[in-house]
Structure formats: structure tokens, C-alpha cells
Amino acid sequence: MIRFDLIPQSRVRTVRREYSLYPSVDISENKDNYSLKFEIPGMAREDVKIWIEKDMLMVSGEKKQNLDENEIRHLGERRFGKFERSFWIPEDADREKVKAEFVNGLLTITVPKAAESRPREIKIG
């Protein structure tokens, strides 16, 4: 079975300099769904884009920084900028029913498994 995985895609590499962010992601699976959780704190919902392209699930976004010239910056550990990450979609995924929610800086993408691929108990008749 093909699992979700990172794609060292040539397209990503060539434009990599444009992307200054690389948000952390956790990927897990249960009997009904695949689940991807991205840490993108401080990002506006409308600045995040999720789409499916061929066999890939793509996630991109931009974290904007509000800079004010009148401010003095004492600490600057947070990072800002653009990111794009891509993942293979497993064969058994139902790509029509992909859902996403964004709560407390955590983007959760749920990819349900197609009904026929879920484990099914068969009763003895």
C-alpha cells in the first residue's frame, strides 16, 4: 500500500529559495482516515491554500509579518514567509471527501479512506 510521504519533487527544489518556511507536519492513519496536522501559527485562514493535483495533495501558504518602522525589535525568533509542501495521496483515499480545519494554529487535513478499503467485519451467517 502506498503511504503518505514527502515528495522530493524537482519542481519544489527549483523554487525552494522562494520558500522560507517549512512547517512541521504529523501524519497518522486510523481505520477510517488519514490525517495530516500542520503547525502554522499566526497564519490567516485565507492565506492557506490546499489543493489536489494529480496524485498529490498540495499545501501552501504565506505567513505575513506586520512591520512597523516606529517599533523597536528586541527579539525576532519567529519566522515568516511562504511555504509549499506536497504529499502522495494513497491509492485507497477518497479524494472527493478531503476535509480541512484550522484551529489554534494547527491545520488538520483529513483524507477519508474509500469505503471499500476500510476493514469490514464479516459475520458468520
Binding site: I2, R3, F4, D5, L6, P8, S10, R13, R16, Y19, S20, L21, Y22, P23, S24, V25, D26, I27, S28, E29, N30, K31, K37, E39, I40, P41, G42, M43, A44, K54, D55, D68, N70, E71, I72, R73, H74, L75, G76, E77, R78, R79, G81, F83, W88, E91, F102, N104, G105, L106
Partner: protein, 145 residues
């Protein structure tokens, strides 16, 4: 799954990228990867009226964050537990960091401790620490004779 033509150079190049990334993160250089949970990244700015501290704490709930102010040191602490508690979950990849954290920031003594405000929005804790009246910049008009 689409059939992708195997290009040996592509794998070699991506290996090089991985190596770059490994070295970058080892030396703590900016590879764009967000800071780990154990050391949540902090920004602090100062304007005429306030100091503003922002801390990235994605995935936490408001009541999981503890904040204290003592002797002009602002301390933000808490812990983040992973959510794969169910044994039915198969975990494929873990890039996020978990565990407890504690960040302390020394502030100038010109802060009005009684008027500190904090908010937590889209994973960012924002603490506004107002300056005492005497510390705010004032324009004084001086007559030139």
C-alpha cells in the same frame, strides 16, 4: 498512482537537498523549519506605549498556557502532549515536537504590571505590557528665546 519515469539524477539531487537540510538544522541555521515546541519562538517589539511579546504555541488550548510576571520577568510555560493516544492510530511521520516548555523574558522595570493583557489567537500568544506613564516618550515644547 501515476507512473513516474525514473531519473537517477533527481534522486541524487534530492539526497543533496536532504543533506543540506540536515546540516542546516544541525547548526541551527535558517532552513525555514519552525522552532521546536521545547523552545517556542518569541518575538518582542517595543513601541511608544507598550512592549508586545508574541509566542508561537500551535495546537495548544488557552488554558494549557501558564503565564506569570515576577520581578519584571515574564515567564510563559506549559506542555504539549501528542494526540496519538489511540492504539488504533498508525503514525507515519512525526515532525512536530512535544513536551514541556518554559520561556522567560526579562523586561525593563518601566512596565505597569497591573495592566498586562494577553490574548491567544491562531496559535500565537500575544502579551501586551504597557509602559508606566513616566516611561512613555513625551514631547516637551521649549520656547526658544
Amino acid at each position: 498512482m501515476a507512473i513516474v519515469r525514473w531519473k537517477p539524477m533527481r534522486e541524487l539531487m534530492s539526497l543533496r537537498d536532504e543533506m543540506d537540510r540536515m546540516f542546516d538544522s544541525f547548526w541551527g541555521e535558517n532552513d525555514g523549519r519552525d522552532g521546536g515546541m521545547l523552545m517556542p519562538p518569541v518575538d518582542m517589539i517595543e513601541n511608544d506605549d507598550n512592549f508586545v511579546v508574541s509566542v508561537e504555541l500551535p495546537g495548544l488550548k488557552k488554558d494549557e498556557i501558564k503565564m506569570t510576571m515576577q520581578n519584571n520577568v515574564l515567564t510563559i510555560s506549559g506542555s504539549k502532549k501528542h494526540e496519538f493516544e489511540s492504539k488504533e492510530d498508525t503514525v507515519h511521520r512525526v515532525e512536530r515536537s512535544y513536551g514541556s516548555f518554559c520561556r522567560s523574558i526579562s523586561l525593563s522595570s518601566t512596565i505597569d504590571s497591573s495592566a498586562i493583557k494577553a490574548s491567544y489567537d491562531s496559535g500565537v500568544l500575544k502579551v501586551t505590557l504597557p509602559k508606566v506613564e513616566e516611561a512613555k516618550p513625551k514631547e516637551i515644547a521649549i520656547d526658544i528665546k
